[in-house]
Amino acid sequence: MEETRVVNATWDISTFKFRIEGFGINNMLKKMKEAKLLGNRCHQCGTVYLPANFYCRKCHIAIHEPAEISDHGEVMSYTIGYADVRGNPLDEPRVSLMVKLDGSDTWIMGAGEDMKPEDVHIGMRVKVKWAEQRVGNLQDMESFIPE
């Protein structure tokens, strides 16, 4: 079969000026300097969102009530990484966790530290390991470590 010409093209996404929701993450980042987690609660159904969400997905109303969330929680799911996004093998396996922090109805993801891959399991209790020098960005939470 005769091959056709290959035409190279790129999709230049740099021309976009995205406006991104800042309601939840901005409030959370501010509080993280104090090693605290701030979400919000739906005043109608009580669902607690972390990071805060500007509306309740169940009630479809705007919500504003702040809710402080514990930095302890439970592993709801996990994965052990063996390859990077391009499929290249990693030097050592990497633990990533989905955690439901006490008091929140939503989960967050983060790296797991001080735990052997074979010991990680769903239902395991963990807590946030805070950075000593916190600057108000996501790196303030270094990882989850066993409780």
Partner: protein
């Protein structure tokens, strides 16, 4: 509501990694031509066209415009449907409603993907590009090594969390994912339109492929394929004139959640294995089809399984077996072509994934089984009712179609 029948199916001659001999509209036209051959219809018989593919993947916006001349659509209404991975079935549903509404009698549904002409990884990451940019600004480490929001999972991403949660709650092990992947690769070897085929596949062989991120291995993951699928639908009156035997649509349903896995900005993450939309859509579909006990009444199932564990997981979610039962059915051989509940005898999405066609192929494969035209991958039992499942969006959208061998009593 009117009854709607599938009266013609056309695939591209092959589904492969790279179709270098044709451009996108040319490739699509092969499937269109085959659907005309299959149905005996001509372009003049078509009242309207529905068109779908995974938006953005090949860098062409609204590709039905470019393809208009190649899909027998000139002078006809053409509707472009795009819902991500489910696009193929969402387009099929749109074709169904075009006829059920009474506005059209014969509708052609065209779906395709030519993934070799784009970067599918970039396309998929594009779902959350702005959020990733924002998370970078907020200090996230996208390599997933440390910090909150570390997505992890490598190229399998959020899917690994889904598989992990599924295993935990079902009691299945990674060996079951290996086994279902092997079964589907063997099935694919009997399907001329499948991409990754291995007649000798075994769980042990799959288990030798490297782990990407627990519990997902390379052997559990779908390929990226080039291919197109076309399906022609007709009203009951038209179908009676056109064909002796047709596959009939008994129900269509869909449901969306708002899972934002991997997204700290909107921040709503819950169990990616719960798949509540699958439960809701299946329930709706059974109700619409008048099915009281799907376990007894459905003879054949096609599951949209970009990753092998999803065959087992979704069988449970759509109520084809109890939670924790799917891997036991697999162990007993009941999911095989010769089994009591044959699943994905086509090889599933895990063997062939030209994304825009993937959810549509679940429907056309169910139709072929009902019509007894699946050739080497025809299942042993008689198929009277079959269920096709589609999964997409950002892991949060599910479509269901139920087909049967006779028209539904209205």
């Amino acid at each position: 509501m009117r009854n709607v029948a599938i009266v013609g199916i056309g695939y591209t001659p092959v589904f492969v990694s790279k179709r270098r001999d044709v451009c996108i509209p040319e490739m699509i036209s092969e499937a269109v031509e085959n659907a005309f051959k299959d149905s005996g219809l001509t372009p003049a018989d078509i009242d309207a066209v529905v068109f779908g593919n995974m938006q953005t993947f090949e860098g062409v916006n609204l590709p039905h415009l470019w393809s208009a001349d190649y899909i027998a659509s000139l002078g006809k209404p053409v509707m472009r449907i795009a819902t991500g991975g489910t696009t193929g079935m969402s387009a099929f549903h749109a074709g169904y409603y075009h006829i059920a509404s009474g506005l059209h009698d014969v509708v052609m549904v065209v779906t395709y993907e030519k993934q070799s002409e784009g970067d599918s990884q970039v396309g998929l990451m594009g779902i959350i590009t702005p959020e990733i940019m924002a998370m970078l600004a907020a200090g996230i480490d996208v390599t997933g090594q440390k910090g909150m929001g570390a997505i992890g999972g490598g190229s399998a991403g959020g899917i690994s969390y889904q598989a992990s949660s599924y295993l935990h709650h079902s009691g299945a092990g990674i060996e079951h994912i290996d086994a279902i992947a092997a079964m589907e690769r063997r099935n694919a070897a009997k399907n001329p339109y499948a991409h990754l085929k291995d007649p000798e596949a075994t769980a042990e062989k799959i288990a030798q492929t490297p782990l990407i991120s627990w519990p997902i291995r390379f052997g559990h993951v779908c390929p990226t394929s080039d291919g197109a699928t076309v399906c022609i639908l007709a009203s009951e009156e038209k179908a009676a004139k056109l064909v002796d035997k047709a596959a009939w649509v008994w129900a269509v349903a869909n449901c969306a959640s708002d899972a934002t896995t991997g997204n700290l900005i909107e921040g709503i993450i819950t169990d990616p294995a719960e798949q509540m939309p699958a439960q809701i859509a299946a329930r709706q579909a059974y109700e619409r089809a008048g099915i009281e006990d799907p376990k007894k009444e459905i003879d054949y199932v096609e599951i949209y399984n970009g990753f092998a564990h999803q065959t087992l997981m979704f069988l449970e979610r759509i109520g084809m077996c109890e939670v924790g039962e799917a891997h036991k059915l697999l162990e007993k051989g009941e999911l095989e072509m010769s089994g009591r509940l044959p699943v994905n005898s086509s090889g599933g999405v895990v063997s062939t994934n030209a994304i825009g066609t993937s959810a549509m192929n679940r429907v056309t494969e169910c139709a072929l089984q009902i019509l007894g035209r699946a050739g080497e991958h025809q299942v042993e039992k008689e198929v009277h009712k079959a269920l096709a499942h589609g999964w997409g969006g950002l892991m949060q959208y599910v479509t269901i179609t139920i087909l049967a061998d006779k028209p539904k009593k209205l």
